[in-house]
Amino acid sequence: MTEMTISSGEAVLFWILAPLMVMGALGLLFARRTVHIAVAVAGVMVGLAVMYIANEATFLGVAQVVVYTGAVMMLFVFVIMLIGVDSTESLKETLTGQRWLAALAGVGLLVLMGAITTRAALPAPVGLAEANADTNAVGVARILFSDFIFPFELTGALLITAAVGALSLTHRVRLGAKFGQKEMAAAKLKAYGAGASSTLITNRPNPGVYARHNSADMPAVDAAGEPVEASITTVLRIRGQESNLPSAEELADAGRPYGQGEEPAAVPGAADERKELEQ
């Protein structure tokens, strides 16, 4: 076995990638938005994939991208979407002493792991040129299907467990009759017949057409000239973004070309919205 040399190209690659990866990992400690963290960690995973390839583990590098970045981290992102993509977390610590313990543990692990590896008199690296003679994938497969055939089979149990577990925690058997369009209509009619005035049989009225920027926030007008409240989606009303009917002066200005009259800032909700966007 001959001693392996590490090319300077690999060194350059390492010194570019490693700081980036550490920064990405630090996002795990300091970033506030969950989704940012997930993307940062996914970045670390890609970095790892590159490092695997640099370490003559081509197959693993590709698998890392496919399995980790492609599947595992995306699963994380899915779940983050599920429980609220814009969830942020206050970084204020509530448990007394936890910061100190965490610092102690973190620094301790760092120092110890560093000390263990740097103090060890590691033998000169052999390199995988020989082992990878028939390509890396073939080499890996040989070991996988000979020495580690039993653990390999055993992982099957693991994957089945995962599938069964995920299903039993999330899959719901339908109990009772299916509630389709037909049943929905029948139920609505029944409720209307019972005198529940809040129930509409028909569609809601469309919003108004006196649009200046977004017709969805403008109520429709009934025959008496009064706004129809139900014509605006509740979401807008909760956000306080619905508009009021234009006043007589505004109506008088309606003929003017857009932009020459008053600013749309007169519309209360719009101002808020813009402010939010600027943030």
Partner: protein, 636 residues
Amino acid sequence: MSIDLAAILIVAVPLASAGVLLLLGRRSDGWGHWLGVLASAASAVMAFVILFGLLGRGAEDRAVDVHLFSWIPAGELDVDAGFLVDPLSATFLLLITFVGTLIHVYAVAYMEHDDDRRRFFAYLNLFIAAMLILVLADSFALLFVGWEGVGLASYLLIGFWNQRTEYAVAAKKAFVMNRVGDMGLIIAMGAMFASIGSVDFETVFAAAPELSEGWATAIGIALLIGACGKSAQFPLQAWLGDAMAGPTPVSALIHAATMVTAGVYLVVRSGAIFEASPTAQLLVVIVGAITLVFGAIVGCAKDDIKKALAASTMSQIGYMMLAAGLGPIGYAFAIFHLLTHGFFKAGMFLGAGSVMHGMNDEVNMRGFGGLSRFMKVTWITFGLGWLAIIGFPGLSGFWSKDKIIEAAFVGEGWQPWVFGMVALLAAGLTAFYMSRLFFMTFHGKARWNDGKNEAPGPEQHPHESPLLMTVPMIVLAVGSLGLGAFLAFGDRFFHWLEPVTGHAEHHDPVIPIPVIMGATVVLMLIGVLLAWRQYWASSVPLMPPTGSVLTRAARRDLYQDSVNEAVFARPGTHTVRTLTYADTAVVDGAVNGLGAGAVGLGERLRKLQNGHVRSYSAAMSVGVVLVLVIVLVARI
């Protein structure tokens, strides 16, 4: 019947009976108690079979090892379960089964009105079986089984009337204190295993003389702790008084005749180990001497008849311990006193039970007095017990106690003087407090409400107990009267025990024997006389004389009694107070403190278990860091 079979049956019969009674439950309520009596009696018959079997052999062949089965064959540690029948265990077999059977009979009447009488008998049988295993065991491991068994049974029996919380608490206290002693025994076994590699008697005692003194002392002290726990010796004596909460037959059986003497048995049985370590031996003597005096002083001040008897038991076992610690010269005396004590103390406990039976379960002696007219049999039997325990010449106690006092005076240096004088003095104290007890109960003026006097409390109609109760008392009284003389005659008992205890060279005490004997008798008479003056010839105040408001007349009486007060009662009470204080503060304090410390520590640690998973992971990772530091500290 062979000795082997008898030895197995003697344990199996009461055990089976206990099992039957517990399993059948209420269905056996009607006849259960008689089954219990029968089982115990059958054991007693077996005990006699064994006795005669042994007597039929030569002195050298009087040790039969009954192999039961191979119990724990763990590698080098090979523990066989087997019984050792020899004169020592046979003596105990007789005591346990004979006295036990009498107490069973007594309990049939005593517990008549208890709904759970059958269960009581099941426990009694269980106790008998466990106690028999204890004395029959041929290894420390099996002895430990019996040891735990009697602990459990006594726990069940003390707490039998567990409707009342304080009784259950007393039961628990006994259990916990015993556990401390048990630890001593476990440690002793561990030490034996480490140093000798075995825990069966034969190997251990054969190897004991070659043991280094350090090991022997360690094992000896650990065994002593075990003995102290079980025999209520200083400093683990506190539970015995509280244990009087149990029904009186229990007190007679467990806390007078059998279980509390297990410690003495252990020390005598392990004689070979103690002989290898003079330090441990000296400690045994010291413990015995302290308890002897302690019990006697406490006995002087207790007004509760059963507690006074319990204090006396403690003190008498102190005598036995003292003797056992003297080495081969004392073993036989210790066992002899144990045997006679078993008879007269059990008799007196039964007598106390009979008094309570006649007095509506009253236990305060200040509320007794003049009962001799109403319960003749009880009076006479109790009187014989009293004479025996104070060492009245000719009665059982005289023979056995005198020997111990003499033996205590044997030796060189300061020890014979100190221990001899302590033993001698205690004889006087014993005479005082036992006479006090006897006179306060049976003589003097009646201080209970007989409908005519002005004594407080409900009206009492003292009456003699039924035959089932008096007959056992009579039998035991006969034992108190003649057993000592019978066994001491021609040193017959000591020759009988010789194969076990070895032959002791006869040394002369530092004071001539007749002088010791004379001094003992004189001290005894002084004690009786003082007690007679204070508790028979003069009236006994209904309230304890210290710290209470008394009438002028009572005060004058006090003045009259001030000598007695000053000599005995006052220092007595003060000492008792100090001792009880020391007891509560130090021993209870240590036990409670350990408990409180554990609870306090627990409460602290509990805070760590705050339910936050992040705290858990923090604990884990800090743990990992610390572990790595510990592991690597030498390397990096």
